[in-house]
């Protein structure tokens, strides 16, 4: 079998060449670029880490991504367990409808948020009708939250449904027969059983929310989140060192969270 393994290694060559030339090399270049300094302001990394604005945008992006992840896990977890466990008329249609938005690009999600909570949105006219004032929050962090939630929920639902299949139902029945109430069973049996899937899915939701440029771009380039900051630094100020440094820091944080989750959870099935 040694020769066939060697043949197999050759089959990997094209993919390796593509990744090396168009990803590893550019990434290394980006990391080096971030340490260059254009004028006497110090390297890109120093400018990023010493600026309250950039650090603030990073913190804000991280917190937003964490809140979105938590909310998506809660909402998607409840619906996912429900859809995996119950059989009723229209269930598969409901699952199909809930999973479509997974493939919607960020820009489209941003537009949907505008339709929901923008100046002429549904909530604006609803608010005008009910309270006499337009409810508009699409162009703020709340709008961003709604958008990120929109594309995170389908992913959680899919993952939770898949994880529920492998859950041992006899444990729940045992807990019930020992007198545990619904709430106790959820907390002590179902949630720990789903924990690996929830953790790895949460990490992916976090990563997606950290880098979701499209939604933020549609909702307005005044929002102080890191992808928008990178874009502004790059296009408006042509400050390549800072743009590169910000990208590297954003990528490093995202990657670290994914790696950490992988270390904590082994072999969790996720929908990428």
């Amino acid at each position: 079998m040694a020769t066939s393994a060697r043949h197999a290694a050759w089959a990997l060559a094209p993919a390796f060449a593509v990744l090396l030339a168009f990803w590893l090399l550019p990434l290394a270049h980006l990391i080096v670029l971030g340490s260059e300094s254009r004028d006497s302001n110090g390297s890109g990394y120093w400018q990023v880490l010493s600026s309250a604005q950039y650090v603030g945008s990073l913190v804000q992006t991280c917190v937003l991504a964490m809140v979105v992840t938590g909310a998506a896990l809660l909402v998607g977890g409840i619906s996912g367990v429900f859809l995996a466990r119950q059989r009723f008329f229209g269930r598969s249609a409901l699952v199909a409808l809930l999973t479509f938005p997974l493939a919607f690009p960020g820009v489209v999600v941003g537009f949907l948020v505008i339709l929901l909570a923008g100046r002429q949105g549904l909530l604006a006219s609803l608010g005008l009708h009910l309270a006499g004032e337009r409810w508009i929050f699409a162009y703020s962090l709340a709008g961003l939250f709604v958008g990120y939630l929109y594309f995170s929920i389908p992913r959680v639902i899919l993952t939770v449904m898949a994880a529920c299949e492998s859950l041992d139902r006899s444990l729940e029945e045992a807990a019930h027969s020992l007198g545990a109430g619904h709430w106790r069973v959820v907390c002590d049996v179902i949630v720990p059983g789903l924990a690996p899937a929830l953790a790895s899915c949460g990490a992916i939701c976090f990563a997606t929310s950290m880098g979701a440029f499209g939604t933020a771009f549609t909702l307005g380039t005044r929002l102080n989140v890191t992808p928008v900051a990178i874009y502004n630094v790059f296009t408006n100020y042509a400050n390549f060192a800072v743009a590169a440094a910000l990208s590297v820091v954003l990528g490093a944080v995202t990657w670290a969270v994914l790696l950490l989750t992988r270390r904590l959870v082994k072999n969790a099935g996720t929908v990428l």
Binding site: S4, A5, A8, A9, A11, L12, P14, A15, V18, L19, F22, W23, P26, L27, H29, L30, I78, S79, F82, L83, Q86, F88, L94, L97, F100, A103, P105, V107, V108, F111, L112, I114, L115, L116, L122, Y150, I153, P154, H182, I204, A207, G211, F213, F217, T218, P227, I230, Y231, F234, F240, A243, A244, S247, V248, L250, G251, T254, W255, L258, L272
Partner: protein, 264 residues
Amino acid sequence: MKRSSLFVVQLLFTLLVCAFMLVPVLMSLLAGLTRNFFVGLSSGLTFDWLVQVWQAYSPTVWLSLQLAVACAVCVCVVGVPAAYALVRMNNRFSRAFEELMVLPVAMPGLASALALLLTYGQFGAFRSSWLFILVGHVLFTLPFLVRPVMAVMQRQQLPVLEEAAASLGAGPIKRFFSVVVPNCRAGILAGVLMVVTLSLGEFNLTWMLHTPMTKTLPVGLADSYASARLEIASAYTLIFLLMIVPLLIALQAISARLSRGERR
């Protein structure tokens, strides 16, 4: 059968989530077909907006389709052999390679695009052609083909079949095309559909990589969201949805079939 009140609460909650996902999409469909969205449905339905969008933005649709097909071809050429190698090797190196392959998806697209732009941006002819966007799309979609193909390959008795073919005198290349590829058609098909869907909707990378001459559908969408009136933007979104929803339905059908095969 009598359902508990817990069931009703959970069902209502799920329906609420479903409404959250669907209502904006339906609004967008409606807005793209209404004569004047601010007046409402009473202004009448029309296809005028769709016609206007087509007149202004049809090149973006064609470019996106061209990119998606080219991307699917490239990813197949690179990815199917890679999946085969990863399944076959299954050692520390191949696992490290898998990690590496997924990284461009995990990384913020903007960062990858910036890296590409700052490294290869000075090659003018390459920078201004659609191939520059293609490179980004291939990087981003590669794992979405390799993963399902690997999953199918792991289930099949590929080593046995290959040994049989080898004992009949088939060389490695012949074995790959006449044994390996036909046996993982379903995985390749699922992967290709996913790649096409993702390539049609890719924005984070594309926005940095595009030039005024190479605008894709999502780039055009972002343009219209920023500058056009709501009806035009909605009609444009409608065209986009008409393109990807059939793909998504096909994808769901195939992955249902694949997971049935897994259980069997």
